[in-house]
């Protein structure tokens, strides 16, 4: 390609340039921002994973909610009378 020498010169200059002092801060800030964009449920799962009572509460609440269809069917089948 005709412009290859130009590109090689440009990339050589870029490599020769020393990074600015702010570059590290900018990269770290970008990483932090990216982490902040992770879905909130992941944060929630991380926080709950650190707490045994929270894990138990989540599982028991799920069990309760997941059992509701069976309670409904038991009620419809007259096996549960309120």
């Amino acid at each position: 390609m005709a412009d290859e020498p130009m590109y090689d010169e440009w990339i050589a200059n870029r490599r020769a340039a020393s990074p600015s002092r702010e570059l590290t801060d900018r990269v770290m800030a970008a990483v932090e921002e990216r982490c902040g964009q992770r879905e909130s449920y992941v944060h929630l799962a991380d926080r709950m994973n650190a707490s045994r009572p929270a894990r138990w509460a989540a599982c028991l609440a799920s069990l309760l909610v997941g059992s509701l269809p069976f309670l409904l069917v038991a009620y419809a089948a007259e096996l549960l009378v309120f």
């Binding site: 879905e39 449920y41 992941v42 799962a45 709950m48 994973n49 894990r55 989540a58 599982c59 609440a61 799920s62 069990l63 909610v65 997941g66 509701l68 269809p69 069976f70 409904l72 069917v73 419809a76 089948a77 007259e78 096996l79 009378v81």
Partner: protein, 309 residues
Amino acid sequence: MASGKNSVRFPWVALALSFLSSGVGHIYCGRIVKGLFLYSARFLLPLLCVIAAFAQPSNAVLLGLILVPAAVTVIIFLYSPIDAYAIAMRARPDYELKEYNRASLYWLLVAMQLAYPVALTWGIREYAYEAFLIPTRNMSPNFLAGDRVLVNKRPFRDGFPRRGDVVVFRTPSSEAGHTWIARVIGVAGDQVVIKGREIEVNGKKLERERVPRDSIARIRKQVEGNVHYESHAGRRYRVLFADDPHDESAMDEISVTVPDRSVFVIGDNRDRARDSRHIGSIHVGDVIGYVDYIYFPAETWSRFGVYRD
């Protein structure tokens, strides 16, 4: 299918998702095929109950299309969280996320599986089967207090109710709009004459013969009195009379011509039942359905299964 991202699989999340909806915990752990299989099973098994409503009633239908699928559904509900938890425990800490590992998908699947039983239960109760708990001895000795029965609600699958059918019907509002169960004695146009314990339909007296006491030994606790076989319209069924003929007030004499689109019903516990002798003929529009099964019998499990006279 892989997204190139890695994430640890929390066993408690797999457990919670599986409690909420069978199979979703497996999908969370990357077992999409097994997860969808378990998830679909929870959807499809209850539909067998609808097929049962269109089949000829039999014990095989009750077991194969209603009770066994119900039991399998419960087993899946119990098995799915245990298996998902075990899979998550074995998962590598650098589990590579798949395209379907999205919270929005999990919540969609959970919401569908929680809403589905509500809609399906309503649909089955409305159009296929409705369960009833029999609270009284109105239909002793054929149905006892505490029996749970399945009533087929396919409207008039064999035309209008026939003589000898056992039907569940809505009572008039004067009786607080309850549902009762009784046997059809007369259909539209029939002349029904009741003199004490004797019943004549179109001038023909219903014949009876005594049932040996030992043949009803298992349900004796709820059957106080004398049991007879009664023959009517080619069917033979048992009816009960109190030991003391003056024990309860059977009406002295009734003579009625059953109106158009109506049926005259009487409980099999003849001296104690409340029925058309008290509330008149029942419009066929108030008939809810026919009793197909005793799925949870009182007293003895020998009465479990399809109801036959």
